[in-house]
C-alpha cells in the first residue's frame, strides 16, 4: 500500500508544521507577561494604598469606641446638672400613649451618639390631673393648730376681729381760710 504510506508521511509532515506561531512568540510573550504583571502589581499597590488606611481607621474606631462611651457616661454621672443631665423624665401628659410611640422614642435614643444619649424614663399615666402635691409647712401648721388648739382660740382664729372689720372713719379735714392781702397792708 504505497499510497497509504505516502498519505501517512504527508499527515505526519503536516502535523509537524501545524499551528506554527509567528516568529518572535517567546519575546512577545515575555513582553506581554511583564506588562501584565506590572499592571497587576500596580493594582495591588493601589488596593493596598486604599485598603490599609481604611482598615487601620476602622480598627482604631473599634478600639476607641467603647472607651469614649465609658468616659461620656462617667462624666454624666458626676455632674447631673439640669442642662447636662442624661436623665430626662417625661411628664405624664407628654407620655406616648401607644407602644409604637415608645418604640419611636427608643429608636430615637438609639440613634443619638453616646455622648448625648438620654435615658428616657417612662412613668405610668395618672388618673388625677393635676397630680397631688405634698402639703407645705404653713398648711401643715394650720392643720395641727386646728386639731390641738382650744376651742376659744380656734373660734378667735375663725371669727374676725370687729375692729378690723369696721370701716375706717376719717374725720373731715378743716382748713381755715388764709387772711386776705388788704388786712395785711392796713
Amino acid at each position: 500500500m504505497p499510497d497509504r504510506d505516502n498519505l501517512d508521511e504527508m499527515i505526519d509532515a503536516a502535523l509537524e508544521s501545524y499551528a506554527n506561531p509567528r516568529p518572535g512568540l517567546e519575546r512577545r510573550m515575555l513582553a506581554r507577561i511583564s506588562g501584565g504583571a506590572a499592571t497587576s502589581s500596580r493594582w495591588r499597590r493601589l488596593f493596598v494604598a486604599i485598603a490599609a488606611p481604611l482598615i487601620g481607621s476602622l480598627l482604631l474606631m473599634a478600639y476607641l469606641a467603647p472607651r469614649i462611651s465609658h468616659v461620656a457616661t462617667t462624666q454624666v454621672a458626676v455632674a447631673p446638672t439640669p442642662s447636662s443631665t442624661s436623665h430626662v423624665e417625661s411628664t405624664p401628659g407628654r407620655l406616648p400613649a401607644s407602644r409604637s410611640a415608645s418604640r419611636v422614642h427608643e429608636r430615637h435614643a438609639r440613634r443619638l451618639p453616646d455622648r448625648v444619649r438620654y435615658n428616657i424614663v417612662q412613668r405610668p399615666k395618672l388618673d388625677i390631673f393635676p397630680s397631688p402635691k405634698p402639703l407645705s409647712y404653713a398648711e401643715k401648721a394650720v392643720i395641727r393648730f386646728a386639731r390641738e388648739a382650744p376651742e376659744g382660740d380656734r373660734k378667735a382664729l375663725v371669727t374676725p376681729d370687729p375692729e378690723l372689720t369696721e370701716p375706717i372713719r376719717i374725720t373731715a379735714i378743716h382748713i381755715p381760710p388764709l387772711p386776705s392781702s388788704e388786712e395785711d397792708t392796713n
Partner: protein
C-alpha cells in the same frame, strides 16, 4: 525580571511557548486568540509558580493552556452569538495562507492543515498533542481527562478521517 525565579520563568517561556501555542491553537483555530490564551497561561503560572511542583512540566502546561483555551473559546462564542454587529476578526486556518504567508509561494501542507482544522475538537486536540514525542497516550489522557484507550481510539480515528479526506480531495482535484 531580575530575580532567579524570574529568570527560571523566562526560561520556561522560551522553552514551552511554541508548544503552548500549538495546544491553544488546536482548540481556538485562531493565531491571535491562541496567543492570548498562551499569555493568560503564562501569567497564571507566573503568579502561582505552579509549574515548579509539576512532575511533568509539559503535561502540566498543556493541561493549563487547554483549559484556558476552552474558557476563552466559550467566552468568544458567547460574545459572537450575543452581538450580531460585532467586529469580525479575520481568521486564517493554519494551512491557509495569510497575507504574510501568501508571499511564500510554496505551502506544501496547506491542504492537510485545512483538513486538520476541519476535524472536530475531540479528534484534533489529541492529534496535535501526539505530535510531540514527550507526550504519550497516557499523558494526553491525563491532560484531557479521558482514558488512555479513548485517546488511542481517537488518534486512530483522526488519522483515518484525514486519510479519507485527503483521498477524496485528490480524487476531486485530479478527476
Amino acid at each position: 525580571m531580575a530575580t532567579d525565579a524570574d529568570a527560571e520563568f523566562s526560561a520556561l517561556v522560551e522553552r514551552q511557548s511554541r508548544f503552548a501555542f500549538r495546544v491553544a491553537y488546536a482548540v481556538l483555530l485562531n493565531s491571535s486568540d491562541a496567543e492570548d490564551a498562551v499569555q493568560e497561561t503564562f501569567l497564571k503560572l507566573y503568579r502561582n509558580r505552579g509549574w515548579k511542583q509539576a512532575k511533568n512540566e509539559r503535561a502540566y502546561l498543556a493541561r493549563v493552556v487547554w483549559r484556558i483555551a476552552l474558557d476563552l473559546k466559550r467566552h468568544l462564542s458567547r460574545l459572537s452569538s450575543g452581538s450580531s454587529d460585532s467586529i469580525q476578526v479575520e481568521t486564517y486556518p493554519s494551512g491557509w495562507p495569510n497575507p504574510e504567508e501568501e508571499l511564500e509561494s510554496s505551502n506544501k501542507h496547506a491542504d492537510v492543515h485545512a483538513l486538520i482544522d476541519s476535524l472536530s475538537e475531540d479528534f484534533r486536540v489529541p492529534l496535535v498533542l501526539s505530535t510531540f514525542d514527550e507526550l504519550n497516550s497516557r499523558e494526553i489522557g491525563e491532560i484531557l481527562g479521558i482514558p488512555e484507550g479513548t485517546v488511542r481510539t481517537r488518534l486512530q480515528r483522526a488519522r483515518e478521517l484525514l486519510r479519507q479526506k485527503l483521498i477524496s480531495l485528490r480524487e476531486t482535484r485530479y478527476a
